[in-house]
């Protein structure tokens, strides 16, 4: 009996190793295609495959008020990012309804893009050097800065009030985690899958403050007026639209599309609709 069990264990481990190797080699294969620009998988011809499909598949947030929020009443996803994505679909395909929205979180968006689940990410995504190694970014389409959200009356008034043991809530895979670790190394950081969970945790008193980009925090404060954004933004968070590496034609048309939106005044309309008058200094 004993011998057999050990044999099973051995076979199991061999199996694990095989899966491992298979997974890795196939992934390397995928990357290879990307670099050499194989036509069918749609890296170099990403734009053409979108056009022949007649639909732009966009990853947006579903849980972020003002940027991408699913409304339980209507079932629609609405926000600044969503409107930008629709306007881009109009520029690329001539019709803003030729779009499919998919829910992404900070944690899932890059894997989804690299798996060809989505064509572009328009999801409050900060352009960083680290991420540029993984994806390509469009020009900046929104300027945010990281800030803090607290319950009204909280002793935390700015980043300087975060001390050892302060519980800071954040979202997995977001730049805010790295930033807060750098600015307040003594804080205890609790990470959640998405903003909704993090905000629910703040409301439930599971943390003292929630940190992310001010634009998102303002949306939360609108949702629940018991909370307020405190302190000056302590980082610059320029948002970009992420596109799979090597899809140069798609990147160029997205940038051209963004420029057109700015020139036509469409961008300002969307900005005013969700964010208000363009704030000075941002």
């Amino acid at each position: 009996m004993k011998k057999r069990s050990w044999m099973t264990l051995g076979v199991a481990l061999t199996f694990l190793a095989t899966v491992w190797l298979a997974g890795c080699s196939s992934k390397e294969g995928g990357n290879g295609n990307g670099a050499s620009g194989e036509p069918a998988s749609g890296t170099a011809s990403a734009l053409e495959s979108i056009k022949s499909r007649g639909k732009l598949v966009v990853g947006v947030k579903y849980d972020t008020k003002l940027f991408g929020l699913k409304d339980p009443a209507s079932g629609n996803v609405e926000g600044f990012d969503v409107d930008i994505a629709k306007a881009l679909a109009k520029e690329l395909l001539g019709d803003e309804t030729k779009i499919e929205l998919k829910e992404v979180t900070s944690k899932t968006r890059i894997p989804m893009l690299n798996n060809n689940d989505i064509d572009i990410i328009v999801a409050t995504m900060t352009i960083t050097e680290e991420r540029k190694k993984e994806v390509d970014f469009s020009d900046v389409y929104f300027k945010a800065g990281q800030s803090l959200l607290v319950k009204k009356g909280s002793p935390i008034k700015s980043i300087d009030d975060i001390k050892k043991g302060t519980k800071v809530l954040a979202v997995k895979g977001s730049t805010s985690v790295d930033n807060i670790k750098a600015k307040a190394p003594d804080a205890t950081i609790l990470e959640f899958d998405n903003y909704q969970d993090a905000f629910s945790a703040l409301k439930a008193g599971q943390g003292d403050t929630l940190t992310t980009d001010n634009a998102i925090l303002y949306g939360m404060a609108v949702q629940d007026p018991n909370f307020e954004v405190v302190g000056e933004p302590f980082t610059d968070e320029p948002y970009g639209i992420a596109i799979k590496k090597g899809a140069t034609d798609l990147l160029n048309s997205v940038n051209a599309g963004l420029k057109k939106l700015h020139d036509s005044g469409e961008y300002d309309k969307i900005y005013e609709k969700w964010i208000g008058k363009a704030p000075s200094g941002e």
Binding site: T8, F15, L16, G23, S26, G30, D63, P72, T108
Partner: protein, 216 residues
Amino acid sequence: MDIAGAFSYHNLIFIIKGFGITLWVAFIAIVLSFVLGSITGTLRYMRIPVVSRILGVIVEFIRNLPLLLILFFTYFAMPDVGLKLGVMSSAIVGLAVFEAAMISEIVRSGLSSIPKGQVEAARSSGLTYTQTVWHIVLPQGLRRMVPPIVSQFISLLKDTSLAIVISLPELMHNSKIVIAQNFNYTLPILALVAVLYFAINYALSLAARRLENKWG
């Protein structure tokens, strides 16, 4: 607590929609996992050289991983091997594969519990091995497996909630969105969700008990 606000028309519709997705995903996954689990379980029982051993290892491997991790793999790793699935399909595949491994084990041990003497008697009366398994072992074994298989189906129904990590708009996911609107909705909504899960699963377990009594 804000019970009236929590149970507004829109919120209720939204939650019922989520419940619909939960039931649909569970139903498909139950059918798939039952078929897959019965086949692999029977093959393992039959001790076909190599095949049974390999299946056994795969089943053990899957059974011993958290479902949460399997869902993550079906969602993010399948495209690497050329299978791109949407959120709902990955949830169904992940659930079906995981629960099939559990059912496979139930089937294998259920069949093994049929006394060897019966198999020998059937063989000596001229049936082939496959015929023996098909006509003698399976019908008896299946009856014994009904209770554990139904509890596995109940587990599957509950486990659909884990697809929240890949943003499947099922019952837990939708109730979370409603709760996010207003903190005072938390307890009423969670109570409603508990009642919904309980109602369907309790009904399933009652049905299983009735079946058990009828056959037992």
